[in-house]
Symmetry: C2
Subunit: 457 residues, 2 copies
């Protein structure tokens, strides 16, 4: 094969973005404000400051500044593992025998194994700059915790991770990566927090959940002098930092005069998808270009496709601000058979608003078909993908196969958020034909949604 | 920080090497020939053909052709994960406060997690081209097996891996990566081969060894129609394929007018070190330039620094040709406390000859100091290194600290062969302060060397 567009487009260092892009500035319908959980009034900077670093709280509330400069030390850190490659999937195209042109932005080439590092290093930087001692957080699949541990090691911050108990036990190696970076890792629910002790008393032997780990991490932050809480997805600030993904992608595509037709990303809390599509969505919002955007979520945790657009709590313990988002209810728990991340009950307010305004589509996929796509992709493209990322692969392959039927040579871009090296339990299940699917019933979802908080519009 | 030389130098696709460089062509003292294990005469092409693919057997014996073209399909595959970055270790330099300039060639950004894929894809290609059904091999730490599984999946070849039993059990995730790529993985010693059954009978409950797994893989190849045996290190052909590492490194350095003073690599069988230094060694052999080359081996398996330069068997079962190399004796077993790879009893004939001719230095290091360097490196450079690669990090750091003492601004290049994501058992031991060192006694080595075969000079 020989072609003009290389297999991998790497930007030069001088082409890297120097500002994050805040898509909220271009949205006519802004995302609804966070609400203070006690007063149910829009959260102010002062409401957020006990929980979040000052600068991050400002970013959370800022829906008018389009470009926010990336601090120099964060830019330097980015240069250790960025630019990430934009890969032309020549081999996948050939295997599918499709006229579609497929590209993926690969964020897995760093030790955290995913895009999470893009926001972790920014959040750690602002915490260091504020003179804090450390940060607390929760982690489920472990990618966020690993990324934060790396970021904190770099800026000499203490890092306390509450890891959902089932992951702590099933993913001992993720835990060891965090420990190698000096983080302390506590299985959640723990006996270290009031909420943890309460949950342990109510549900002895529980495996934990992301919502519960969030509550523990927030409590640990607000009860320890010099600590703040940081989060790896859902929040506006996180989507902001993740726009380096989309900005690099756009620069790389522009360099070769490529205009995508469809942009696809997996969606759990929305950090990767929001970051990938932001600059393209900006063009769409400003009427400069049009694209199809597709959010892909697991059928077992379908917040966009089957949830309700409403105010809900972000955590089980109800200590965090409320957000207006597509949600399955803060008590919703995805089935135990669901592998990997993408298990959050809600969705980023930004993406929720864009979806409500019909600027973005969403589909849900079942996990056996996701792993089948992952295996095919691994064999032809040489990268073993994370289960989360493989949701996007599944739909990219489906769209490419549609092109084969219609003969259209569409350009498809998807986000390959990470690698699956720490998800081999799930792959083993798939290899052994032990993997199953689960789709929650309407009753199950209705029951969970019935417990949504009552908030005046 | 802002500087002329970027954090990462990525070559463009058109700058990638299109031929491998055969350093033997420039050696005055050629490596001694392989010997047929039955006749003890120099092995001919016909001797090697039952075991190796024809084209690979030719490469094994060719010590005169300086440049061997890389086949087009192999070049295409290389483009999926190459060029690998040459990284300027700005953050490590800063952490060490050294005037030295440190660079590393990072080969870990592919799913096999190491440089092994460079030779695996070449070997699989020649097997496919010869119309074979499949290949057999052994794997210890699992990097080679993973690489070969990926390569075979790409060319639709059957791949049968004998995995040292202790690794099979301690590294189930490596095994699952191989299975995801469609390989069959058998713990060795197995009951599938005569040699495996013999070893199991003699040593019930044995954990296996690399030498034993090699014997099983060779037997499986020669007793199955349409199969050949492939190997991930030691052989001339492997070092040849691995020269893509050194060739890319040299192109990248030349592009910025950088001339290294010291080039460092870890050495087990010699595949990475041989590939990294080859083009620089070529200059030295031709009198065009001078460099210091340092091979780093584990103190627990010190073939260069404490072994004997003599003909020895390459495998425990003594079915492979004999090679003249620095060896600890084919029965030598590194201590069970030794983590990771670099446990082979011998060393590549090419590197052995260069070392005997004083063209290269060698040092041995203990594993706790290796892991201490690995942890430091991970925290400042953002990459969790493989234990093997960390041997090179250790010595690069030591050389940089010497520069700090003397005030010399030397340029140090080392090979970072891979990532440690599948070595978290070893990191956990280190994190828990449970890791120990082992240095074999003179008696232990002498006892093993006493069993060397008697070969007329």
């Amino acid at each position: 094969m020989s072609q003009e567009i290389p297999y991998k487009i790497y930007l030069e260092e001088k082409e890297l973005p120097t500002s994050w892009y805040n898509v909220r500035a271009d949205m006519k319908n802004k995302p609804a404000p966070l609400l203070n959980p006690e007063t149910l009034k829009p959260a102010t900077l002062d409401d957020l400051r006990p929980v979040f670093c000052d600068e991050l709280a400002k970013q959370e509330l800022d829906d008018t500044t389009a470009y926010i400069p990336i601090p120099e030390p964060v830019l330097d850190f980015y240069k250790m593992y960025r630019p990430s490659p934009l890969v032309r999937a020549y081999f996948l195209e050939k295997a599918l025998d499709t006229p579609a042109k497929i590209y993926y932005k690969f964020e897995g080439n760093n030790t955290s194994g995913s895009h999470k590092l893009n926001s972790a290093i920014a959040q750690a930087y602002y915490a260091m700059k504020q003179g804090l001692k450390g940060v607390t957080t929760e982690t489920g699949a472990g990618q966020w915790g690993t990324a934060l541990a790396m970021a904190c090691a770099f800026f000499n911050l203490d890092c306390k991770v509450f890891m959902v108990k089932v992951s702590y036990e099933q993913k001992p190696f993720r835990r060891e990566v965090m420990r190698t970076y000096g983080a302390s890792v506590t299985p959640s629910p723990s006996m270290e927090t009031a909420i943890g002790r309460k949950i342990n008393a109510e549900f002895p032997g529980t495996n934990g959940s992301l919502g519960c780990a969030i509550s523990e991490a927030v409590e640990a932050a607000v009860t320890h002098e010099g600590y703040r809480y940081v989060l790896g997805s859902v929040l506006n600030q996180v989507l902001l930092h993740q726009t380096v993904i989309g900005l690099e992608t756009k620069t790389a595509l522009d360099k070769y005069g490529i205009k995508p037709d469809i942009i696809i990303g997996c969606a759990g809390g929305g950090s990767n998808l929001g970051g990938l599509i932001a600059p393209f969505m900006g063009e769409k919002l400003r009427g400069e270009a049009d694209y199809r955007f597709i959010a892909v979520e697991p059928a077992s945790c379908p917040s966009l496709t089957r949830g309700k657009f409403a105010y809900d709590y972000c955590d089980t313990g109800r200590v965090c601000p409320l957000a207006k988002m597509y949600t399955l209810g803060s008590g919703f728990m995805p089935s135990a058979n669901h592998a990997g991340g993408l298990r959050y009950h809600g969705m980023s307010s930004v993406l929720s608003q864009l979806y409500a305004d019909h600027l973005m589509e969403a589909v849900s996929v079942e996990q056996t078909e996701v792993f089948a796509a992952a295996e095919k992709f691994a064999r032809v493209e040489g990268i073993l993908p994370a289960p989360e990322s493989s949701h996007a692969i599944r739909v990219a392959v489906d769209e490419a196969l549609k092109c084969k039927e219609t003969g259209e040579a569409k350009t498809i871009v998807f986000g390959l958020t990470g690698t699956g090296y720490f998800d081999m339990y799930a792959y083993q299940k798939f290899n052994d034909h032990q993997m199953s699917d689960y789709i929650p019933s309407d009753e199950e979802i209705a029951k969970s949604l019935a417990k949504l908080p009552h908030v005046e519009k």
